[in-house]
Symmetry: C2
Subunit: 207 residues, 2 copies
């Protein structure tokens, strides 16, 4: 049986519900296309509740910008851990991640695109986006560094650069898979990573 909630608890719950509804609605309609009434209704509240928890539509949006990528990152890390990261299977698991993000979590890619466009147009929030991206890139650098070490990659190659390339590849493939799934098979991301890491080793052996 459910304990009676305190005021602070219900407020926190309302906030979380509003954030979830906002993520769904912004992803489906865009920042300007989504109305605050729509968001509040999707969460089961009124606009009054929304403005009692967030100072403006933009503030709600920016809070998502800081939050959601962290959520995704945690889920991805968990999935990778569960399937033997640090082994040769990591590449296969990254392929599965591509499918997850492109096909299942259809909100994520759309939201990130919204964030990017918003930051391009409102330079004052670009720092926040850059920080959010940097956070996930640092996690990725751990994986990439491990992969390079396992494959005996040389010292001359910059882990940050390789990570940036891997992340760019991922984003580009997710986007393309939403346009034409036939062009981006589930294995293509893993395949491309194999080419990339093989090439890194081979290229440095020459120079």
């Amino acid at each position: 049986m459910r304990r009676r909630l305190t005021r602070a608890e219900t407020k926190a719950r309302t906030r979380a519900l509003l954030l979830d509804a906002a993520a769904r609605t912004f992803a489906r309609k865009g920042f300007t296309g989504a109305s605050v009434e729509e968001i509040a209704e999707a969460a089961g509240f009124s606009t009054g509740a929304l403005y009692s928890n967030f100072s403006s539509k933009e503030a709600l949006f920016l809070e998502l910008l800081s939050d959601r990528r962290r959520d995704r990152l945690a889920a991805a890390a968990q999935a990778l851990d569960a399937h033997g990261a640090g082994t040769g299977e990591a590449v296969a698991e990254l392929g599965r991640l591509l499918v997850d993000v492109a096909d299942k979590d259809i909100e994520f890619a759309a939201l990130q695109a919204e964030f990017w466009l918003y930051a391009i147009r409102n330079p004052r929030v670009m720092d926040a986006l850059a920080a959010s991206v940097r956070e996930s890139h640092q996690a990725l650098e751990g994986l990439v560094g491990a992969a390079m070490a396992r494959r005996g990659a040389p010292d001359g190659v910059c882990v940050e650069e390789v990570s940036t390339v891997v992340a760019a590849l991922f984003i580009g493939l997710v986007r393309q898979r939403r346009i034409d799934p036939d062009c981006v098979s589930e294995e293509l991301f893993g395949q491309a990573l194999n080419w990339l890491f093989t090439g890194i080793n081979a290229a440095s052996d020459e120079g």
Copy 2:
């Protein structure tokens, strides 16, 4: 001295000016954020002129979707031709293309992101976007095929797949360069392509 324009000529000119203004405005404000009055004014006309040339805001947007990528493609092909495509310099030239698209033609990336989001949300226009993308990918496949042949790549590797990877890499790097230019140097795209093509050769030598 300027010849007196016929009605058809002035109308075509008005249409073109409206399309240009629409590209600028949609890129800067987004599809929902840009108003038709804003677009018409930027072109030096009234909303009446706009609705006399396009049936709706959406029709104007969709016309850009078909047009603008072709323009970009033509400019890119010209730039590549001018700097010795088909030689080893092609990779360096592709690096320059990255800088052009990311830094100078700031409209292009934003517009493409708008198109993608719009197509995601309005499945009936996804076909148009897919066709537009396929057009540029086919041009890219010519370049990629030539690069692979020059480097003596094996038969077992699918040109379409490699092209998709190259395009994805490009899009992802442009996006990241707009977030943090320091992370994506001008040479990184060319560097990544070198890794990629080197890896394609090496991987197939093994199997």
